[in-house]
């Protein structure tokens, strides 16, 4: 029987019980939250038992107002046999953004985790090569975190004279 949003939720709840929370279906795509330290267990189960063998995206989000769980990693998985997708989110505190790497399971996670590290500063534990990928190597901050002023007054690389500021 082909998987549907309902059967996926049923099967996952059967396996993991109450640990998976915040079930939603925005725009028809099943979304849920898993505990950060369980991300690999859930991914492995989805991969082995439910056919989600294609990771289409892995990205990060910063919620500065959620104390203790400021940073979120979002996994997008695709089951090519049943042609159904789902989204899994985990949350970690910004002071200690440790996340187990998904590279052992999905090779494609390698560059995507590097990108997520580059922009949000996640520490992907076990990643084989966690270095910046898109930004310059000298960069010493994580630009997509929502903790910077719109206009950085300390910036020196913009010539204010030319812009009438």
């Amino acid at each position: 029987m082909a998987l549907t949003n309902e059967t996926i939720q049923e099967k996952l709840t059967e396996k993991f019980g109450e640990q998976l929370t915040e079930w939603e279906v925005p725009y028809g795509m099943l979304t849920f939250r898993a505990p950060a330290e369980m991300n690999l267990k859930v991914l492995q189960h989805l991969y082995d038992a439910m056919g989600f063998q294609f990771m289409t995206d892995l990205t990060g989000v910063h919620f500065p107002d959620r104390k203790g769980e400021e940073l979120s990693v979002v996994y997008h998985l695709h089951n090519l046999v049943d042609n159904i997708r789902l989204r899994m989110k985990i949350y970690v505190p910004v002071e200690k953004p440790d996340v187990y790497t998904a590279t052992k399971l999905f090779s494609t996670a390698n560059w995507m985790e590097r990108e997520t590290y580059d922009f949000f500063g996640f520490n992907f534990v076990g990643h084989p090569n966690l270095i910046r990928i898109l930004n310059v190597d000298e960069m010493d901050y994580f630009p997509m975190r929502k903790e910077y002023q719109m206009e950085d007054p300390t910036r020196v690389d913009k010539d204010d004279e030319m812009f009438g500021r």
């Binding site: 930004n135 310059v136 960069m139 630009p143 690389d157 913009k158 010539d159 030319m162």
Partner: protein, 187 residues
Amino acid sequence: MSRPVQYNTKVKLVEAPEGYSGEGFYSTSFDKVVGMARANSLWPLPFATSCCGIEFMATMGSNYDLGRFGAERMGFTPRQCDMLLVAGTISKKMGPVLRQVYLQMAEPRWVIAIGACASSGGIFDSYSVLQGIDQVIPVDVYVPGCPPRPEGIIDGILKLQDLVKGESLRRRQSDQYKGLMESYGID
């Protein structure tokens, strides 16, 4: 009956530089002749990274035809070219690449920054974009616009031709020029 092959009789020649001429001789300064030759056979090296690059392609196409100004031969190797045309957004990560391309060009070399992005970062007032290529290499002519029309690019190249025509042969040996290069860390 007209001949099967028509010759273009409207070929326009560059005017000879100022000088003295008499019967059987003509004399002028070496600077001017060399300047004229350089200005009318610039070899463009396109460094086109985004939208402005499309306008540059139009400039090179038959409608606007940069060949009319003696610059139709694009070289895709910096070693053969003397006019670097930077058209488009240059990210900070690409800064060293652009600099490397500039270093590989032989003297004399000229640079045109086409469009707001290459000149100043343009609309990309952000952490990842170089705020003007003059932070990594010296620029001779800035063409404003986002993007500039092909007429604008041609105007910029004509301005550069004026610079090239008037450039003294010793400029590249001058202390001022060396100081400029040093300020960019190029020697």
